[in-house]
């Protein structure tokens, strides 16, 4: 069985790095709706995909993944909002893990909004 002993090693390794982890106001924020509507529509794999990719690519200082409740647009869940400092908020609708991957590559890393998945592109306000 995996024990808690390994944690001690992680702590020692991390301790000197922790002080550097202050809230970065220049970071891109990716917010996934995780209320009943979002979860039922498949938000968990979307959140996990973003979180896994950010860690995998070592972008935890530049991209912050978090979750929120219901924003009142349940029929368009899973919804992902991207907040980039100095830019307008982008809202992606009806997301899944594959689309999340695409948004990760093209938008969050590449800097180009993936128009076809946005709420604006679907003609909604």
């Amino acid at each position: 069985m995996k024990s808690l002993a390994e944690l001690q090693a992680i702590r020692e390794k991390m301790q000197n790095r922790v002080n550097m982890r202050s809230e970065n106001s220049n970071a891109i924020r990716v917010v996934v709706g995780m209320a009943t509507c979002g979860i039922a529509a498949g938000a968990r794999p979307v959140l996990n995909e973003f979180a896994a990719k950010v860690q995998e690519k070592g972008l935890t200082d530049k991209i912050v993944v978090s979750q929120t409740g219901c924003i009142g647009l349940c029929q368009y869940e899973p919804i992902v909002e991207v907040f980039e400092p100095g830019k307008e908020k982008i809202t992606y609708i009806k997301m899944d893990a594959e689309k999340a991957d695409e948004v990760m590559e093209r938008h969050l890393i590449g800097g180009h909004v993936v128009e076809k998945y946005t709420m604006a592109a679907s003609g909604l306000k």
């Binding site: 808690l4 991390m14 922790v18 979860i39 039922a40 968990r44 979750q67 924003i71």
Partner: protein, 184 residues
């Protein structure tokens, strides 16, 4: 909802929003009793008797963004349609305990699903609450207590990649050992 674990993620979310400092999640699978029992207990703000009476009504919610509240009704329906039962006990300023019992071998019981992701999500994204998790199959169990982890880590946050990965592995490996290749 297609998995019991998604219901747990959703209902436990209510506990964290109720300002709970400790959320207890117990899963107890018993072949002898033919049950899969889920308990979600918190020490959050609790509910008034009036709210408790209405919480399983899908057309009741305290929210203002919409008129329905489906989380608890979904969970209740899932348990009851598998020949099980559902119970919610709450007291203002004391907390809330939700108990759902599923018929383990009932054909209408949804799978437990990815409970590891549910617990990982809850722990990593709710640093303001502590979690006590116990997973039991036929009397054998493992636990994860974030208060213990917090103490060992001494200030290193849970969303640090190394810690987050450790928590996921801990949940995954221990569950595998307890499950003995059985899928619930």
């Amino acid at each position: 909802m297609t998995e019991i674990s998604l219901n747990i993620l959703d209902v436990a979310e209510n506990s964290t929003r109720a300002g709970a400092s400790l959320v207890t999640i117990l899963i107890d699978i018993s072949s002898a009793d033919d049950t899969l029992k889920v308990v979600i207990a918190d020490d959050g703000c609790g509910m008034t008797p009036e709210q408790v009476a209405k919480v399983t009504d899908p057309f009741f919610t305290t929210r203002t963004t919409r008129k329905v509240g489906l989380g608890v009704p979904f969970f209740k329906m899932a348990a009851e349609s598998s020949g099980g039962s559902f119970d919610i006990v709450s007291e203002v300023n004391v907390g809330t305990t939700v108990t759902a019992i599923f018929g383990l071998t009932n054909i209408d019981r949804m799978p437990l699903g990815d409970i590891t992701s549910t617990m990982h999500n809850l722990i990593v994204y709710h640093p303001e609450s502590d979690f006590y998790y116990r997973y039991t199959v036929n009397g054998e169990s493992f636990t994860l207590d974030t208060r213990e982890i917090r103490e060992i880590l001494g200030g290193v946050p849970f969303d640090v990649p190394e810690v987050s990965a450790y928590i996921r592995e801990y949940l995954e490996e221990n569950k595998q050992e307890i499950d003995k290749e059985e899928i619930y």
